[in-house]
Symmetry: C2
C-alpha cells in the first residue's frame, strides 16, 4: 500500500517549501527565480518518487477540470460510437478528458447526466440532445456552462452546434430516387419533434412537391423510438401495400438497419421490387446483397469541429455562438435504382 507522492513529500525530501516544488514542476522556475541546482534536485527527486500531480486538487484550485462531458443517445450505436471516438481523440490532443453518458433519448436521463457531470465540474458539454431537453440547455446557459450540440439542434441563434444540412440530405436523396423513375417513395422516420427529424421530413416532402408528386399520406411511416415490434408492424404494413411502394428512404441509421433486416426476411428484391436509400454510413450495408445508397455524414469533421468550438467557447466566454452546417455526401450504389 504505497501512498501517492504529493508536492509536500517532495518538498520534505528536498528540504524546501511546497511552493518551490510547485513552481519548478510547472516550469515556472524562471519567473519564480528558482536556483538552477535546487530546480534540478527537485526534478530529480520528483522523478525518483514518481510524482504524478493530483488533478483533483488542481481542478479545485483552478476551477477548471479539463474534462468534457459527452452526452449521446446511445454509445452502443456505432454512429455515436464513432463520433465519441473522434471527440475523444480531438479532446486528448487539446489536453481534455472525456466523460460520457447515454441519454437513451430520455429527457430524465439526460437531466441526471447533466447534473452529475456539472457536479464533477465539467468544463463544457458536447451534446446530441434528446427531445424536450431545451430547458436543460437553457439552464446550462444560465449557469454559464459552455456547450456545443451535435447531430441535433434547436432553432436558436444563441446556440453553438455542428450538424449536417438535413434538409438537403433527404431532398437530394429523394430527388435521386425520383430520377430513377420511382413514383411512390416511402419515408421512414421517428415520431419526434427534434429539428433534424423535421428537416429530414421537410426535405423529402419538398422534393416530392417540386417534382409534382401527388398524395403521400400512406407513404410515411412514423415509428416510435426504441420500439422494435412497433417498427416491425408499421414497416411490415408499408411493405404489404405491395406494388404501391416502389422506393423507401430511411431517415436514420438505426431505421435503415432495421428496415434492411426486415426486407431481408420478407424476400423483397432490391432494387428490382423496391429501391432503397439509407441514412448514415454503416459497415452492415456491405453485407447486404445489394450495394446500398446512403447519406454520408462527415463524422470526423463533426467531432473535431465540435471539440474545437467548445474549447474556443470555454477559453473565451465572450466568443460568439457558432452554427456550423456541413454538407452531407450522397453515396450512390445499386440499391437506389439502376
Amino acid at each position: 500500500m504505497q501512498k501517492k507522492t504529493s508536492l509536500k513529500d517532495i518538498a520534505e525530501a528536498v528540504n524546501v517549501s511546497t511552493a518551490l516544488v510547485s513552481y519548478v514542476l510547472n516550469n515556472k522556475e524562471k519567473q519564480a527565480r528558482v536556483n538552477l541546482q535546487t530546480a534540478e534536485e527537485i526534478k530529480r527527486v520528483a522523478k525518483k518518487m514518481s510524482y504524478r500531480p493530483n488533478q483533483v486538487a488542481k481542478s479545485l484550485k483552478s476551477g477548471k477540470s479539463l474534462a468534457i462531458g459527452l452526452i449521446v443517445a446511445d454509445i452502443s450505436n456505432p454512429f455515436f460510437g464513432y463520433l465519441a471516438r473522434t471527440i475523444e481523440e480531438e479532446s486528448k490532443k487539446k489536453g481534455y478528458t472525456v466523460i460520457f453518458g447515454s441519454s437513451d433519448e430520455s429527457m430524465k436521463k439526460s437531466q441526471e447526466l447533466i447534473e452529475t457531470l456539472i457536479n464533477r465540474q465539467i468544463d463544457g458539454f458536447i451534446i446530441a440532445p434528446a427531445e424536450e431537453t431545451e430547458k436543460q440547455l437553457t439552464y446550462l446557459k444560465k449557469a454559464n456552462i459552455p456547450f456545443v450540440l451535435i447531430d441535433r439542434y434547436f432553432k436558436d441563434s444563441a446556440l453553438s452546434y455542428v450538424v449536417i444540412n438535413n434538409f438537403k440530405a433527404t431532398y437530394q436523396a429523394t430527388q435521386k430516387l425520383l430520377e430513377k423513375g420511382k413514383k411512390r417513395i416511402a419515408f421512414v422516420c421517428y415520431k419526434n419533434k427534434l429539428q433534424h427529424t423535421k428537416e429530414r421530413y421537410r426535405g423529402y416532402i419538398e422534393a416530392l412537391k417540386d417534382h409534382g408528386s401527388a398524395d403521400i399520406n400512406e407513404l410515411i411511416c412514423e415509428v416510435e423510438f426504441n420500439n422494435p415490434s412497433y417498427f416491425k408492424k408499421e414497416f411490415g404494413q408499408l411493405l404489404k401495400t405491395g406494388s404501391k411502394v416502389d422506393a423507401v428512404l430511411f431517415s436514420t441509421n438505426a431505421l435503415s438497419i432495421m428496415g434492411l433486416k426486415q426486407i431481408m426476411e420478407t424476400g423483397i428484391r432490391v432494387p428490382e421490387d423496391l429501391a432503397l436509400f439509407c441514412f448514415d454510413q454503416s459497415e452492415s450495408y456491405d453485407l447486404f446483397y445489394c450495394p446500398i445508397s446512403y447519406v454520408h455524414q462527415p463524422l470526423e469533421e463533426i467531432g473535431q469541429k465540435a471539440v474545437q468550438m467548445l474549447i474556443d467557447r470555454m477559453s473565451n466566454h465572450q466568443s460568439a455562438y457558432q452554427q456550423l452546417v456541413l454538407d452531407p455526401e450522397l453515396i450512390i450504389k445499386r440499391s437506389s435504382g439502376t
Copy 2:
C-alpha cells in the same frame, strides 16, 4: 455569469457555520444534533440557491472520486460500445461515473490513458488490455489501484477478470462444423499474443485433433490488427485455394464482418460453397443473405459483473481476486451448414 453556490454561500445566507450546512445536507443532522428549525431553513435555502455539491472538493477531501476508468480497444466497435453501455449503466446504479478511452490496441496509448486517469484520481479501472500491457497492470497493482480485466486476460491468479471460455467457444464451433461434414476448416485470427487469442486458436486446433483431422497448415489465416489491405490479401488467398477450404471460423467480430464483406464481393455461396462460423453477435449479420452462426458472448453479464467485482475490490482492498469465466453460447443458423 452566476457563480455556483457553495456551502459557504448557504452558511452566510442562513447565518450559521459551513459545518452545520454540511451536516444537514449530508443527512447527518441527527448525529450532529442540529435543531430541526435550523435544519429546515438550511434545506430551504440550499434548494432556493440551487446548491449542487462540488464533487471535486468532495473527492479531494475523501480521496475517492467515485469514478471508474474504462479502457477498451475502440469505442466505435459496437462490441465495445455495447460493453461500455452496460458498464455505464451498472456504474450509475452504484453511484459511479465512467471515464473512457480507446487504446487502439496500442501499448503506448494504453499507458497514456492509464496515467491521465490515475492523475484524475480514478477509483478503479475496467480494462480490455492491449498486447504487451502486463507491466502497466503490474504498476497498477503496486500503486494499489484496483482493476478488473474484461474480454482479454493474462495468466495470473492474482488478477481479477471476467471473460468467456474462449477455448470452449472455438472448440465447439469447430466441432459443429465438423459435424456438418466439413473437412477443411479454416481459422481466421489476429497475430497477437493475447491469452484469449491463443485460447481461441487452441480450441480450434484441439477440436480438429480430437476428430482426427490432418494437416492444417494452409488453413490458418493470421492477420495484423488495423490493417484492412493485409486482411484482404491474406483472406483472398485463403478463398482462392478454392475447393480446398469448405468452412471458415472467424475468431473476432471485426474479422467476421470483414470476412463476410469479402465473401459478399467474391460471390461465393454460403453455405453451399463455404460454411461460416462467426464470432460475437452483430446486427450486421442479419443483413447477410444467409443467416449466420456465431459465438454469442453474454455482454451484459460481463459488464455488470465487472463493475460489481471492481466495486467490491474498491470498497474492500482485502477482498480476494476473482476470475469469472462465463460460458459462450453457440447460435446455430444456416451458415454453418445444413
